[in-house]
């Protein structure tokens, strides 16, 4: 299994029946492919839909029905559409059970930076600041390092997305839970050692006595 699918598969285990879930661009999108059987998830997208389904078959695209990346999607039976104030009312109002987002950096306080690299890339925050501030549970998916450099750092050097502490961080090497006391190493990926995780992490990690392997076959 490649890194991206491993992360997506692990995050999918966090989704429970009846959840309202927002998946960001990139790795998060893959999570939908791994939702456990019998678990009914309502996927929401910032542009104003609950009940988003997979890509339509060729010729069935509706130009008015897209996800937050402007890619054609389908609508599941029982879906609903609404304007941007309701869309973000659901997000900021605490009605969204889980948001899964990509990240550029996560620091020891569990703060996420994911919306700009000053002087280099200024895409804008889009819906990210509202999602991180408002969702009941914020899960970040990212590669553990970028060009060999740690992305889990002592303090974010990039502009943060929210002061809110994220709830879970999943990389291809580890599952980390930011807590009041710091970042706790909860699981390691199959074939990865704790030492390897530490070597690739700038932030201090709290290592419990027992660190199980991610339950992804």
């Amino acid at each position: 299994m490649n890194a991206k699918n491993l992360i997506a598969k692990r995050i999918a285990l966090e989704l429970k029946d009846g959840y309202l879930v927002n998946l960001g661009i990139g790795i998060p999108t893959l999570v939908a492919n791994y939702t456990p059987e019998g678990v009914n998830i309502f996927f929401e997208s910032e542009n104003g839909i609950i009940g988003m389904g997979p890509v339509p078959q060729d010729g069935m695209e509706n130009p008015d029905l897209v996800n937050a990346s402007a890619k054609y999607v389908t609508a599941m039976p029982g879906s609903s559409c609404f304007d941007s104030t309701i869309s973000f009312g659901l997000i900021r109002g605490g009605h969204l059970d889980v948001t899964v987002l990509g990240g550029l950096q996560v620091d020891e306080k569990g703060r996420l930076a994911n919306w700009m690299i000053p002087g280099k890339m200024i895409p804008g925050m889009g819906g990210a600041m509202d999602l991180v501030t408002g969702a009941k549970r914020v899960i970040v998916s990212m590669t553990h390092t970028a060009k060999g450099k740690p992305k889990i750092v002592k303090k974010c050097t990039l502009p943060i997305t929210s002061i809110r502490r994220i709830d879970l961080l999943v990389t291809e090497m580890a599952v980390i839970e930011p807590t009041e006391n710091g970042l706790v190493l909860k699981e390691i990926a199959p074939g990865v050692t704790i030492d390897e995780v530490l070597k690739n992490t700038e932030a201090h990690l709290i290592i419990p006595e027992n660190v199980p392997t991610m339950k992804v076959e």
């Binding site: 559409c81 941007s84 501030t133 929210s162």
Partner: protein, 217 residues
Amino acid sequence: MQVLKPTEVIEMIPNGSTLMVGGFLGVGTPDCLMDEIIDQKKKDLTVVCNDSAFPDRGIGKLIVAKLVKKLIASHIGTNPETQQQMIKKELEVELVPQGTLAERIRAAGVGLGGILTPTGVGTSVENGKQVIELDGKKYLLELPIHSDFALIKAKRADYLGNLSYSLTARNFNPIMAMAADVVIAEVEEIVPVGAITPDEVHTPNVLVDYVIVDGRH
């Protein structure tokens, strides 16, 4: 409400106007009106839109044609031209979190003086804004955004100007229809009064000043 041709309605817009434009990455943007603005070379526009879409789509075309002086948006990452003009200082960009952008437009439309949002607290979005603390929680005071014109896209209008939107093409359109001095709706189809039932009307006719029909449908 009056039905006009795109040429006639865009002729009413002076250079230097502030325009709200509906749409999310171009979906739900009034395309005929965009093309007509380019044909008439309207200049020095301030544009309020969720994003700058793509170079060949939505308000992205206005950016490429260098008609925009200032852009208020949540995301510019899909249109490289926007960032380039921004760096060259040819274009001023105000980045606003998407949920905040929606609420600021709504606030103007419904006569509120502002709203308090937790989104952006402790981030660069806080700069220059009043922070109000209530029960130990901090909020940013965000101010209304009003415009001279709203250029919106609906699926259907009835003879009186009642509008209904389609799926994710709804997005910012209904709130922009309340927040501008003059509201211009581009629609795909005109239907008899009553075809949009009272419970299905998304934007009441009294808000709509001009309707233009997109002849491509």
